[in-house]
Each structure stands twice: as C-alpha cells, then as structure tokens.
C-alpha cells in the first residue's frame, strides 16, 4: 500500500508569509563603497535566507530605493525569485515619499494575502540611510503625515519599522522618524555584511515562529554591526 503521505493532498499549501521591504537610500552621498556594499548586501541576504528552508518559503521581499526619485526596484517576491538589483547612487534623499510608499505596498500586500487566505506575519520595513530627508522638514505637512503613519503603524502592529543610520546620517532626525520603541541603530563603519547576516538570521527566527508570536531579536551591538543606540 502506498504511503499515506503520497495519497493525501494539502488543502492550503501556502506558507505564512513575512512581507519585508528593504527601504534603501541611493542618494548621491551613498556613492562609492557604500552603494557597492549595499548591493553586495542584497546578494548576501538572498544567499543566507535561501539556506534556511522555512525562511526561504516565507520571506516575501521587496526593495524600494530613494535617491533620484522613489522607485520600487523589486516588487514582492519569494527569495527564490528575488534577483538582487544593482544599485546606483544619485540625487537627493526623498525619504518621506519612500516611507509612505513602503507603508502603502505593505498594506496592499496584506490585502492580497487576505484575499488568498494566506496567513502572514507582521511585515518589516527596514530602512538604511546615510542622510536626512530632503522632501520634508520638521513640522511640515509631509513630515507630520510620515511620523503619524510610522508611529501609528508600529503602535497598531501593522508593521515593524527599523531604521539603520550609516555615517554621516542625521541621527537626531532619524530618531524622530523611527518609532519611539525602536530607535535607530547606527551601523559600525563598513559592517554591511554583518548587518545583512543579522537581517537574514532575524527573518529566519520570525519564520520559525507562530503567527502573532513575539520574537526576540539578537541585539545589533552583540551581533557586531550596531553601535550603541544613537
């Protein structure tokens, strides 16, 4: 008699998904070693996640860049289908528009999951920047809109917002943008590889958790890439 495993079918074979948006600063100031390291980081991230069987099925990755405009460089896809884009640095830092775009696509993605009956984890918006926003300033309409959406989204568990400050980022402004419960972390000089290793490890942890469960992440300082909170 054939094995039961071969006889049965699974009703909902989808994996619970973890939508992750990498929100990357590609403004002119990132030119040189930083943009090269960031591009390499995307490949490192893909390779790391692909090695983890659960995470490779569950992480749903998108890349948004902000520099010469805001661009969805890579729409949501599985890690297998993720083709790391080659990044180039140019232009200003339209961070406000980029954050709003990330929040929008995360909400759209969750709606798509719901429509298809796919369970999902709380999405991640992971921003890496070396500057400060050039499309909004403290107290103007866009600033207020961005701050409200980031902080409300975090409070209402709609997503988790992470900010990583690369030298010489305006850390004071970043601190105001980031949710109060998750202040920005400063990247130790050149430690992009460690940052992406940490990110993939963290996503593996999330992928191995039950939907809705709190996951304790490794401290970025202990992980070797973060400096004491800025």
């Amino acid at each position: 008699m054939a094995k039961l495993e071969d006889l049965i079918e699974i009703a909902n074979p989808q994996q619970p998904h973890c939508a992750t948006v990498l929100l990357l600063d590609t403004s002119g100031s990132m030119q040189g070693g930083k943009i090269t390291a960031l591009t390499e980081g995307l490949t490192i991230f893909k390779e790391d996640v692909a090695k983890d069987e659960l995470a490779s099925k569950r992480v749903d990755l998108s890349v948004i860049t902000f520099g010469n405009g805001v661009s969805v460089m890579h729409d949501f896809s599985s890690i297998e289908d993720f083709e790391p884009p080659v990044l180039s640095a140019d232009g200003y830092t339209p961070m406000g528009e980029a954050i709003l775009k990330a929040i929008d696509i995360v909400e759209q993605r969750k709606q798509q999951y719901r429509d298809k009956g796919i369970d999902y984890y709380r999405p991640w918006i992971f921003m890496i920047t070396d500057g400060e926003p050039t499309d909004m300033e403290h107290g103007n309409t866009m600033w207020n809109d961005v701050i409200r959406k980031v902080h409300d989204g975090e409070n209402n568990k709609k997503f988790m917002f992470f900010a990583v400050a690369v030298e010489p980022a305006n850390t004071e402004l970043l601190r105001q943008i980031a949710p109060p419960n998750r202040p920005p972390v400063k990247l130790k000089e050149g430690r992009f590889k460690d940052l992406f290793n940490w990110l993939s490890k963290s996503q593996s942890k999330v992928s191995a958790s039950k939907v809705g469960e709190q996951v304790a992440l490794e401290n970025p300082v202990a992980a070797g890439w973060g400096e004491v909170s800025v």
Binding site: I8, A11, Q15, G212, E213
Partner: protein
C-alpha cells in the same frame, strides 16, 4: 455444535489516532503539547478526546493529557451498563466539565496556576451512527456522511490571530464551549488539532470547508484498515511527513473513527 452460536458483543467503531511533536517544538526543545485518548465502548458507544496544550502555558502538555484522560474515563463511567441511547450532548458536556475539574485538581497537585495547564479540548461522544461534539478552542471535527463530508465543529476564530484561543482553563470556558447538534447519519469521523487545519480545511472567502483530498482520502483509507496498530503507525508517519510538516510547524494530532466497519472473521 451448539444450536445457536453465542453472539459476541461487536465493536461498532474502529478508532485510530496519534499525537506527534512538531518541527518547531523540536527546534525549541519543547515537549509535544498535544494529546489524544479514545475508547470503543460496549453497545455501540464510543468516545474521542483531543487536546492542544497552549504554547504559552508552562505545563500545557500535562494539561492536555490530563484533560483527554479525564474525558474518556468520565464517558466510560457514565455509559457503563447503558444500552439505550442517552442524550449524547449531556454526556459530552459532562465530559468537558470533568476535564475542567481534573485540571483544577492537577493544578493543586502540581502547585501551579490553572492557566499553566491551558489547552483546547474536543470531545466526540458516539452512539452507533450518531455523534455529538463538545469543543473549546481551535482544531476541528469532520464527519463523513451519506451526504458527503461535513464540518461538524469548526475552529474558534473569534481572534484575528491564529495562535490566540480561549482555553478550557479560562474564566469564560463555559461561554466558549460549543456543543454541536446531534448528527445521526455518520459513517466516519475525524478530529484534529490546529496543526492539521491547513491540510484538512479549505479556506474560502468567508468559510472553512472539509478538504476531500485530505479528509476524504483518510476516510477511504480507514475503511481498508485491518490492523489498527499498523494503521496508527501510518497516521504517525503521515503527521511527521515532510508534506504535512512543511505546512505546519506545530504539534499535530489526528484521530479517525470508522463506523460499523465490515466485521472481520476474528472478533
């Protein structure tokens, strides 16, 4: 040769089942927090109990096993010597009450909080081709009937998140207890914990339906079973298989009963 062969009491139900640890619990070095117990009783009665200990409760594996054992013991006591059809829903309800009492007693014995023993509970009381289900929390019960597969008791989906359930140890346990109406034309029944939900239930926009590719296949398989021990190993193998585990990292319990099976020559 005697003129009349003595008629031996025949078992009306064949039941098999297993609880297995999920990959996530192996990784986290946690015990299997699911438990099941079942018994075929004389005169066409039978009972199945399935419990899923909550991951967040410290000793929920003890809670789950205490609950299912209490259920089977109590139903056995109530139905002992009865031959007429009892009010099955009252029996099922009484079984849940006895599980709750057993957990209260266990918490005193272990000197722990009642919530440390938190678990879900499914009780199926069977009499010939009739069943009643008493249910707290997630997991589900599916029956095979002449009209096809029926979802007799659905997971409690009052919470947005899959991992938030109201356990039998909660203050509101009597409010969250659901008793299904009696179903009378049952050919087979299965109960499972949430670890099997993704495999066994089809999600549509606004409802859950039994999935024939899983449930129907298992009911068909059950009709062919000759050796219950071997079949139980098959079920364990299925629950531990890659195909099932890659869709749920949780512990898994599956109990299946086949009603009025073809009698073998040897009773």
């Amino acid at each position: 040769m005697p003129e009349f062969e003595e008629v031996q009491p025949q078992t009306y139900h064949q039941i098999i089942g297993a609880s297995v640890i999920g990959p996530l619990h192996v990784i986290k070095d946690m015990p299997c927090q699911d438990a099941c117990a079942f018994k075929t009783l004389p005169d066409g009665f039978g009972v199945i109990a399935v419990a899923d200990g909550l991951g967040s409760a410290l000793k929920s594996e003890i809670g789950a096993s205490s609950a299912v054992n209490a259920v089977v013991q109590r139903v056995d006591e109530i139905l002992n010597g009865k031959s007429a059809l009892e009010d099955l829903s009252e029996v099922a309800k009484e079984a849940v009450f006895s599980a709750r009492k057993a957990l209260e007693k266990k918490s005193i014995e272990l000197q722990c909080e009642l919530r440390d023993l938190a678990c879900t509970l499914i009780v199926i009381v069977m009499h010939k081709n009739s069943i009643v289900v008493a249910h707290i929390g997630d997991g589900a019960v599916i029956a095979e009937t002449h009209d096809g597969l029926k979802l007799i008791s659905a997971p409690d989906e009052s919470s947005e998140y899959a991992n938030e359930v109201s356990p039998i140890t909660g203050k509101d346990w009597e409010q969250v207890l659901r008793i299904s109406p009696q179903t009378t034309d049952v050919l087979g029944v299965m109960a499972f914990t949430d670890g099997c939900q993704r495999a066994a239930l089809r999600k549509t926009q606004d409802s859950l339906l039994p999935f024939d590719g899983f449930c129907g296949t298992l009911f068909s398989y059950m009709k062919e079973v000759k050796d219950l021990k071997e079949a139980e190993e098959d079920i364990k193998g299925l629950l531990l298989s890659k195909k099932v585990c890659e869709n749920s990292e949780d512990d898994k319990t599956l109990v299946i009963a086949c009603f009025n099976p073809v009698q073998s020559d040897v009773l």
